[in-house]
Amino acid sequence: MHPALSVIIFTTLSGFGYGLAAILGLFQPDPSLMAVKFGHVLAFLAIAGGLLASTLHLGNPQRAWRAFSQWRSSWLSREGVLAVLTFVPLTAQTGLAVVFDTSIGWLGFVVAVMSGITVYATSMIYASLKTVNAWHNPMTNTCYMLFAASGGLLAVATLSAFNDTQSTLIVLAIIALAAAFFAKTIWFRALDNESGPSTPGSATGLGFLGKVRLLERPHMGENYLTREMGFRVARKHAQKLRLISYGLGLVLPVLLLLIMGATGMVFFGVIALLSHLTGILAERWLFFAEAKHAVSVYYGSESA
């Protein structure tokens, strides 16, 4: 699949934003602290920015409002509706923290639950597509949810440390990061070992006659389908990017969190967060670039 920059930024930023908002809502760090206020604003801006980025790849963004109408059947529509609904408690939580220095326990809980459901809906946009085998499994949802939660915990652990390092948050963040990348490892393993159910034989219905192989494409150049669905990434390239995503997303942040816990220097936490988000960008690029669409068997692929 073509890794469109707008969609990569959308899923990365909004996932991180919802995770941060949820963790802030659940753990209720003291909102009179400047760093915590910053965290609330950061979550709000990440979510808003991510959602805005998602409209950039539309052919007719001026009609984007219509996307709220088909929540009965479409996960993309559900995601849009849930995002808007979540803005209600989210705006209240952010406003209370920034302006009034307060937080409300039940409101934080509502923000956390609705953020979780929204991230789940985002992941279902992809997981519901039967045509992309790598996406069409529950591990896709698990990864999105865990990445959101671990990013949020990492950020809250760092922001709290501006006042006083809290070892509980640091330990939780490390556990969440490990869990998220463990889930991703299972996801990668499935991608590497399982191919989709479709073949040139099933795609043409001629499999019962023998081995079916594409002889000629319909045309010499590229088309919308080959550009959008046929994106292929060199294998060695993918391996390097996987290493980068594990290194920057998991290993470095864990080490830096431990250093922050030992030294109390917030600087390490900030670097950990930036490194983590860069790692997630690489992970998200691969999420699209490595996924193979069923239509590729009409364009020379052996299976998808």
């Binding site: 539309l58 007719n60 479409s74 946009i125 039967k130 219905g205 319909p218 919308y224 389908l225 959008e228």
Partner: protein, 271 residues
């Protein structure tokens, strides 16, 4: 609504494509582009039509596949010895080239309809045709992602999704002669490889054809339940050896020449 229609008439208009007959001339794709660039919805735009990197939206494309048989071919018997699966085409007697036109299959369980966030993509209850309401389409591309057949292409100019309409602006059009009230691709096919009709009616010509020839669903594993059917190539017929002219018979000879030809033969032989 982008839910699939709950009230249906049982009518399922669609195409039956005969892979035994298709010669791969691309006429159906060309007439499709021509009719639909001036018909339903926005024009089918091309980018750089006269430049080096020509590209554009097409609703029908013709692929070409080769099929090289395995050891035992159902309905075909045992394959001659000494040939493996996937051998180059010229070395395998039973291998064949199949031209394969592909357009929207107007699926009963059309995933492109249910994923649409705006309601632009819909399936009609009255005849089963899957259409895009271009005034509602935001061009997100998710329907194209959900289609395993690659039947939908985004028009880069209009920013909306284009797809086969089954020539909805022809088949019900009372302003054109009755003989023309079928999809442009069916009307134009010079080999008569494409057929249009109601696949929901077991007594229609197309349904009978599917029944007789063992019509195929493409990618049944994707669970889309396509309406369009493909007729597989017929088993190759081998002439009985008595009817096959021998090599000697084909070689140059004047045996049996009559009249003028015989006189020429005799005269020339004497010179």
């Amino acid at each position: 609504m982008t839910s699939l229609p709950t009230q249906v008439t049982g009518k399922k208009l669609g195409l039956v494509i005969d892979l035994d007959v298709c010669v791969g001339c691309h006429a159906c794709a060309v007439i499709c582009k021509e009719w639909n660039t001036g018909g339903y919805g926005s024009a089918l735009s091309d980018q750089e039509p006269y430049g080096e990197d020509v590209t554009g939206a097409w609703l029908n494309r013709i692929h070409t596949f080769e099929v090289t048989p395995g050891d035992m071919i159902p309905g075909y018997g045992k394959k001659p010895k000494g040939q493996g699966v996937g051998e180059v085409i010229a070395q395998t007697e039973e291998a064949r080239v199949v031209h394969f036109p592909k357009s929207c299959l107007h699926c009963d369980d059309a995933p492109c309809v249910t994923v649409c966030p705006t309601g632009a993509s819909y399936k009609r209850g009255e005849d089963g045709i899957v259409l895009v309401d271009e005034d509602k389409c935001i061009g997100c591309g998710l329907c194209a992602w959900s289609c395993p057949y690659g039947a939908r292409e985004m028009d880069q100019d209009a920013g909306v999704m284009k797809k086969c309409t089954l020539c909805v602006d022809r088949i019900y059009n009372e302003d054109i002669p009755e003989i023309d009230r079928q999809p442009a691709c069916v009307r134009t096919c010079p080999a008569n490889a494409r057929h249009f009709g109601d696949l929901g009616d077991p007594n229609s010509d197309v349904s009978k054809m599917v029944e007789e020839r063992g019509g195929i669903d493409l990618m049944p594993e994707q669970g889309t339940r396509p309406v369009n059917k493909y007729l597989p190539p017929r088993a190759r017929q081998t002439l009985p050896s008595s009817e096959v002219p021998s090599a000697a018979a084909i070689a140059e000879t004047t045996d049996g020449a009559q009249g003028f030809m015989k006189w020429i033969d005799t005269a020339l032989s004497k010179i």
